[in-house]
């Protein structure tokens, strides 16, 4: 919940979104965060809340192709937008190798940061298919993990990058 006094007794508003390729229409509180709409209205609970203030990256989603923290996005701002969440990425064959690399290299421990991490890694690998370690560190620095010390996440992303480059 935000730290500002929320509005109560206000009429709900209709918002239309395309999420993971499907058109969705939801009736929501006008101050609702995109994160809450995804998790509660659309039951896409793979997107996580870690801090609610855009620091931890657990709520990362793609908004019209850009990686954003969905906890900082008022849903009213994204009417008509196209969103991709971890559920969408998981259905996309291109990224199965990345997910498997996370499992194989121990990049996921408790798993709560993992969906956000995977999205940040996808964002990186789309731009730089075979990134250097410095690129990976920089690109994942907005996603906090408390379990791994990041080492195995870096390994997982680097391996996925190498594998994807080899295949292409």
């Amino acid at each position: 919940m935000s730290t500002d006094m929320p509005l109560v007794n206000v009429p709900k508003v209709r918002v239309t979104l395309t999420v993971n390729g499907e058109r969705q229409s939801v009736l929501v509180h006008p101050m609702a965060r995109l994160l809450d709409v995804l998790r509660q209205e659309l039951e896409l609970t793979g997107t996580k809340e870690g801090c609610g203030e855009g620091e931890c990256g657990a709520c990362s989603v793609f908004l019209n192709g850009d990686l954003v923290n969905s906890c900082l996005v008022p849903v009213l701002q994204v009417d008509g937008a196209e969103l991709v969440t971890i559920e969408g990425i998981s259905r996309d064959k291109r990224w199965q190798g990345l997910q498997q690399s996370f499992v194989q290299h121990g990049g996921a421990q408790c798993g709560i940061c993992t969906p956000g991490m995977i999205l940040a890694a996808v964002n990186l690998l789309q731009r730089i298919p075979n990134p250097l370690e410095a690129d990976i560190r920089q690109s994942l620095a907005g996603n906090l993990c408390r379990c791994t010390g990041y080492v195995k996440i870096l390994d997982a992303v680097a391996q996925a990058g190498r594998d994807m480059t080899d295949e292409s």
Partner: protein, 741 residues
């Protein structure tokens, strides 16, 4: 495809059991669970560190009749969170002892209205002067707990330190402090509770210890174990932070559900989780050490104090672990350790990876560098001359039975880190640069499992069950919180039975279906509970063999067929085993003498740092972690545990400062409570050594928390030549110290 190794599985990086669910977003954590008709709960807190509640008023303009409202008067049983002393109320009734004391609970289906309502409740408190910090508590100007503010006192004596001072060539004194630290699991705490007349209370949640939660709810509601069921949801990290406080949240959710007769979800946001839940105990350690001119330690006199906060909670056991670890992995004939846990008016401090040891080890490993300097030896040579060896005794008089080689660990760590070459090249480099480089290390040990008689008292139980589908299922209360419980249990059971990993399932911890295997804490899951899993699996096999369904030389498939056939013919088959303490273990809880732990893990960590004298930022550039943890069941997960612990240790040393104001955490956001990011951590190079001749796995989860802070601060001293006695060490501290020096 994911790597799929052949048996034996122990020692190989088999895929994490719940790995695919986690990487695909399918794993269901507590806030992902939904129940029909669910309403949301919230907690109204005191906001004054100490006082007496005069009145509670509910503001105008809120439809209060729509809310479930709970105060202390609504508690059916004992108003306490049962743990060790049961001194912490579930809801404050009269006395306020810290600024985040829960007083009123509210629930409503509309989360936006609920938040407005929370702010409309006023708690009028007649304030009393709070006790803040160790010195104020020890001064006893105000008594806030018991007769003397002392939550627990320990004293440990080996030899007689007072007879030694006159024989010493050098006496070295020092004082060291460590700050509070937040566990900062990325998933905040949360619970869902339902109450129904047929089944009693059921709670799902993010937790480490389902049976702790059950025990607390039974006392709170005055219900039998059969009427309280606790189920762990997938848990997004714990590190000790979900050891005892989840009982409080479960209690609150259950009270709201009891009152409203609806399912209640109570999820903390980050700010509430940071201000209200437990942190690592702040500490102060004083050392007085007698040493001979050849560097031999003659006497160690240690005074160790931790700030327990407002209630006793786990402070007594944190104190005992911190006390036992205060003398480190050294053979010293005369040791006195006097320690106290003191009460203050901050929220109770609690379990956090290391559990008192990181505090006392920080002090010792800083202090020994000063001892070395006083004697004129290098830090490594001083330690080399004092390390414990097989057959020697620790500070508690425990004889080291394991074959250990601490000099070997030290040499290996120094070699892997390039310690000697770097020391030389840095001293050259530092003459001409404002980016000062340094290298330092710490040597330490960590006791595996519960302290003293703890494991005997827990008497943990584990079951293995044959299922109709031919697989076996492990029944244990040990929770998967990221550290790999599910996977290593499956490896250990599969290897014990010589069957395929696919034949092994691990039950979700649920007090309705799994026995009490004790809490998931103290680096005990693999070493203690894992061994019970093996025994239970073997006992199940004996039954199958005895029934005639399983013959020697069986394949994995034969085993599964035998399980299925057994269940078909004779019904359920479960084998349950209970922990039996090895007979050679002896512990005297009063004198603090004997076998404090069944075994220890041993380590030397080396940190390389740079300190920028323009910005006063310190950065860890390289980190080498060498340890003997016994047998490694899963090399990737084990290394991951070490790396994660080291990163938390780097945070403890350089980034993570809890800023207190009148007993409240001021920086209760991830924006201003800073943990290391991917851009901050160095390569963390992990080496497991000496495990091949050990008698199986030892605990390793907490070990990596103990060494980084002293190694890093020793490295910073090497870089800038200023002696530093506290963590966290922030840039502003360095600026003052370098300026003063």
């Amino acid at each position: 495809m994911i790597f799929s190794p052949l048996p034996p599985f122990s020692g190989k990086p088999v895929p994490r059991k719940e790995g695919l669910a986690k990487v695909s977003g399918q794993a269901r954590y507590i806030d992902d669970l939904s129940f029909p008709g669910i309403i949301h709960g919230t907690t109204v807190r005191s906001h004054i560190p100490r006082g007496i509640i005069r009145s509670i008023s509910f503001g105008e303009g809120i439809p209060w009749e729509e809310f479930a409202i709970v105060t202390a008067k609504d508690i059916p049983g004992q108003n306490a969170i049962a743990l060790i002393l049961n001194d912490q109320p579930c809801l404050a009734e009269t006395l306020i002892n810290h600024a985040e004391e829960p007083v009123v609970l509210l629930a409503h289906h509309d989360r936006y209205l609920l938040e407005v309502a929370r702010r409309s409740v006023s708690i009028e408190v007649d304030p009393l002067p709070p006790v803040l910090g160790i010195d104020e508590s020890l001064s006893r100007k105000e008594i806030v707990w018991g007769d003397d503010n002392l939550l627990k006192v320990c004293e440990l004596n080996k030899g007689n330190v007072d007879e030694i001072w006159s024989q010493a060539d050098f006496i070295v004194e020092g004082e060291y402090e460590t700050g509070a630290q937040e566990q900062l699991y990325i998933e905040p705490n949360g619970m869902v509770a339902t109450v129904d007349d047929n089944h009693g209370i059921t709670v799902w949640g993010s937790m480490q210890c389902p049976y702790y939660v059950q025990k607390a709810l039974m006392a709170l509601f005055d219900l039998s174990a059969e009427r309280v069921r606790v189920i762990q949801a997938e848990t997004g990290g714990g590190f000790g932070g979900k050891e005892e406080y989840p009982s409080m949240i479960a209690a609150h959710a259950a009270l709201l559900s009891w009152k409203s007769r609806k399912p209640v979800k109570l999820i903390y946001d980050r700010a509430e989780d940071l201000v209200a839940t437990t942190k690592r105990h702040p500490s102060r350690t004083r050392h007085r050490t007698a040493v001979r001119k050849d560097g031999k330690l003659l006497a160690m006199d240690i005074d160790f104090v931790i700030d327990g906060g407002a209630y006793a909670t786990l402070s007594s056991v944190v104190l005992s672990r911190g006390t036992i670890h205060a003398a480190g992995p050294y053979a010293c004939p005369n040791v006195r350790i006097r320690s106290r846990a003191v009460a203050t008016n901050t929220p109770p401090h609690g379990a956090f990876r290391g559990f008192g040891a990181p505090q006392s080890i920080f002090a010792l490993e800083r202090h020994l560098n000063r001892v070395a300097a006083a004697v004129g030896l290098t830090p490594e040579e001083l330690r080399r001359r004092n390390f414990l060896e097989q057959g020697m005794t620790t500070a508690t008089g425990q004889v080291i039975r394991d074959k250990i080689d601490l000099r070997g660990l030290l040499d290996y760590a120094l070699q892997q880190s390039g310690y000697h070459e770097k020391k030389r090249s840095f001293s050259q480099h530092n003459r001409t640069s404002t980016l000062k480089k340094g290298i330092g290390f710490a040597a330490f040990m960590h006791g595996a499992g519960f302290t003293g008689a703890g494991e005997k008292q827990l008497a943990s139980v584990v079951g293995v069950e044959a299922m109709a589908n031919g697989r076996i299922r492990i029944l244990s209360a040990s929770t998967e919180i990221g550290q790999g419980t599910n996977t290593i249990f499956a490896q250990m059971a599969a290897d014990a039975l010589s069957i395929s990993l696919d034949c092994v399932e691990v039950a979700q911890p649920d007090t309705g279906t799994v026995p009490n295997s004790g809490p998931t804490v103290a680096s005990r899951t693999c070493m203690i509970v894992g061994k019970l899993v093996e025994s239970a699996a073997l006992s199940l096999k004996q039954t199958l063999v005895g029934s005639g369904l399983l013959r020697a030389g069986y394949s994995s498939q034969d085993f599964c067929e035998a399980c299925a056939e057994y269940v078909r013919r004779w019904g359920p088959l479960k084998s349950m085993v209970q922990y039996q303490q090895p007979p050679e273990i002896y512990w005297d809880e009063v004198a603090f003498q004997g076998d404090a732990y069944r075994t220890y893990t041993w380590a030397v960590y080396v940190a390389e740092v740079s300190v920028d004298l323009t910005t006063f930022e310190a950065q860890v550039d390289d980190f080498v972690a060498v340890q003997d943890v016994g047998q490694v069941i899963h090399p990737v997960m084990a290394a991951g545990q070490i790396q994660g612990g080291v990163a938390q240790g780097i945070g403890f040393a350089l980034y993570e400062k809890v800023v207190w104001n009148d007993g409240r955490m001021l920086n209760h956001q991830m924006t201003n409570y800073i943990i290391p990011t991917a851009a901050d951590v160095p390569p963390i190079r992990v080496f497991f050594v000496g495990g091949s001749d050990a008698r199986g796995p030892k605990g390793l989860g907490e070990l990596p928390m103990d060494g980084p802070a002293p190694a890093i601060v020793n490295a910073i001293e090497d870089a800038i030549g200023v002696s530093i006695n506290h963590v966290p060490l922030m840039p502003e501290d360095l600026m003052k110290m370098v300026g003063a020096g």
